[in-house]
Symmetry: C2
Subunit: 226 residues, 2 copies
DNA sequence: CGCTTAATTGATCAGGGTCAATCGTGGTGG
DNA sequence: CCACCACGATTGACCCTGATCAATTAAGCG
């Protein structure tokens, strides 16, 4: 069932030093306390079906959450980068798996501790709620992408999304493989590759190497992403 | 922009009697007060871009939430039936539109009133949070469906989903048109229709009429939905 | 420097979309 | 009461996008 390197036990990648961030700004009481954990590339953070006892904030690296079909087909729900929070789930059981795309440093929060926090501070509950709605909005956008867009539109939207997260907006560094991109967009690696090549031939992007994309004509991309 | 009958102003369909449900069970303090509103079939409840001031609970009828692309392509995010709550949104602006599939009775709640409630009662915040996570889980399942499943799998999953909501689980009554089903599953009406016909030819379902489906072989459906 | 794995490119195929004709049904009015 | 109409659903013929299968190239890495 597990398609990842199985050598990564939680214990191995765990660097369990509790991080008390006393200097945390007051608008983030929620994140005042947590445990720093470290993962190598392509490791499982948690799996669908696991009991939900923690959630995470990304300090560095990129995380993907995904679901699997019986025959191995995979749908990546979302990518999370520095500052993003993931690992909320309805009920007590994980509805998605989470895996590291690159080497990652995360902060792990015990759900129960945060529940206690929320009991004492309504603002914390408010903040949790907002983060859940944020995830919901992303998932809804993703549905539109998956259900109603063609390959070129999907890839264009994907590039623009990552350009937005990148500081040097013209040069996008992709942390993930073509397989990851395909599984996020509901395409095969071949189609992703061909579409990128076509965009390059059209002079809309440039591909110095497989993991870097220079956006030459953002407007054309936006037209495609419509 | 508005593809629906434009004759339905909020005022028209509004039957603004405040509903104080004193006998409401204690586990639902959130829903203790609201305003009953009534809508005809195929009317807009709210539109993408509207300011978010309310959310809704379905008393009777079916509601769809959806997003549109510039050229009219539509993706239905979810259907809501009796007891479901919809209309949460991150920020102050609607990210989806909501429309009635059938004639509907809803209860409308002012966000602000509920915020006040939540300030006094942590359990209310908790409940809001759970409902948001519920929506998130549904959206994630939907992404997997849209991104990684074929037409037959999509239709089978759809039928099973509605069989679950129906009391007479063998006989599923579809409240929505083929167009709605297509826009939910990321298919055309023709493909939906063809797939249903094929399932009937295979002896898996029976179609007494366009809006009713009898499930003859649930197991085969579940195999398809995998 | 060869080995392994990821990415690209090409040839072919199939699932689902598009366009168009027909069928069915429910509503309306003569 | 029934003929007609309008609209939704079904069915058929054909096409196109993206998947599949296969070969080649490129890029880390020991």
């Amino acid at each position: 069932m597990n398609h990842l390197a199985t050598s990564a036990t939680p214990a191995e990648s765990f660097r369990g030093c509790t991080a008390w961030m006393a200097a945390q700004p007051p608008q983030e009481p929620l994140l005042a306390a947590g445990t720093v954990v470290h993962f190598a590339e392509n490791r499982e953070v948690f799996a669908e079906g696991d009991e939900t006892v923690t959630f995470f904030k990304v300090v560095s690296g990129v995380v993907r959450t995904c679901k699997f079909l019986g025959d191995g087909r995979r749908q990546i729900e979302a990518f999370y980068v520095e500052g993003d929070v993931f690992g909320f789930d309805a009920g007590t059981e994980r509805r998605v798996s989470a895996e590291t795309v690159s080497e990652c440093t995360l902060i792990s929060y015990r759900r129960r501790n945060v529940d206690n926090l929320a009991r004492n501070d309504v603002a914390v509950g408010q903040q949790l709620f907002e983060m859940a709605l944020q995830s919901l909005a992303r998932a809804q956008d993703h549905c539109l992408l998956l259900g109603r867009r063609g390959a070129a539109e999907k890839v264009a939207a994907f590039l623009l999304d990552w350009a937005g997260r990148s500081d040097a907006q013209r040069m996008v560094r992709l942390a993930m493989s073509r397989q990851d991109i395909g599984d996020y967009l509901g395409l095969t690696i071949e189609t992703v590759s061909r579409t990128l090549s076509q965009l390059e031939r059209d002079g809309i992007i440039e591909l110095p190497n497989a993991r870097q994309v220079r956006l030459l004509n953002t407007e054309a991309l936006e037209d495609l992403a419509a």
